[in-house]
Symmetry: C2
């Protein structure tokens, strides 16, 4: 049911329930995992291969926030060209398994709810469920986010 031609810019009217989108990919190496962790999540299992072996993760793993940040990068640069930007009010994030060194991540998204704003006729709220997959198709993150999406100007009465 997806259209063959993707609009260059997405407005609320372009993102009904069931609208699907996929991003390009990004590969994460051990250096990037450690660099992110040193800044934002300095724990042994994100910083050092040897120290990580005896932890919960059993080996070097990316911070969940690194996976989330890379997911955002993919959505912004190749996934959801929303007019006005990808602006989230919040949402739910789950990490069923960690991102590992060498993983190639891609994101597939689907709109699961869409509601025009009552108070702001120029906007709507769109709920998008985004799965971040590694190169094996394993899900490393599921995010359900509420996005602020402008309505198409011509759609306003």
């Amino acid at each position: 049911m997806s259209s063959d031609r993707r609009p260059e810019t997405l407005y609320f009217e372009d993102m009904p329930v069931g609208f699907r989108s996929a991003t390009g990919s990004v590969t994460v190496d051990a250096e990037a995992i450690k660099e992110f962790a040193a800044r934002f999540d300095p724990q042994p299992f994100h910083l050092d291969e040897v120290a990580a072996k005896t932890t919960f993760f059993g080996g070097l793993a990316a911070s969940g926030w690194h996976t989330a940040a890379l997911t955002m990068r993919l959505l912004v640069t190749s996934g959801l060209p929303i007019a006005g930007g990808v602006i989230g009010a919040g949402g739910d994030v789950q990490w069923p398994r960690p991102t590992r060194p060498g993983d190639r991540l891609t994101v597939v998204s689907e709109v699961i709810a869409a509601k025009p704003s009552n108070s702001r006729p120029e906007r709507g709220m769109v709920t998008v469920r985004s799965e971040t997959l590694n190169q094996n198709g394993d899900v490393v993150q599921v995010m359900t986010a509420r996005l602020v999406v402008p309505r198409r100007p011509t759609a306003l009465a």
Copy 2:
């Protein structure tokens, strides 16, 4: 009801419902906001003061994922010295207002649920609600995270 003396290392038994914790602080400048955005959330309102003026945010704002990552840093380095580390299975994140250049962030956390694992007697799941506040006491993020927390070894039969 908080104890005067904080344990050096927190086990499941140290984190009952109502347990509270606060972190140190971190200040975010415009350069850090732009640097994070360039890597993970390259949108005008996170990258450029002038371009940001005409956007939803009305001025330069940190990516929500930057606020989340800084919150994690504070929790890991000064907030929750959990045995085995701060390991989240996922949770809910809300950004009621953005982090702005110059903001000084701190995090206050409270345990809102704690449940021993049925399948893994050496662990429990602890649900922590963490508010990230700026220097004015405004809430820039509310995160409710489910953490994997080891039980104190001596508490096992």
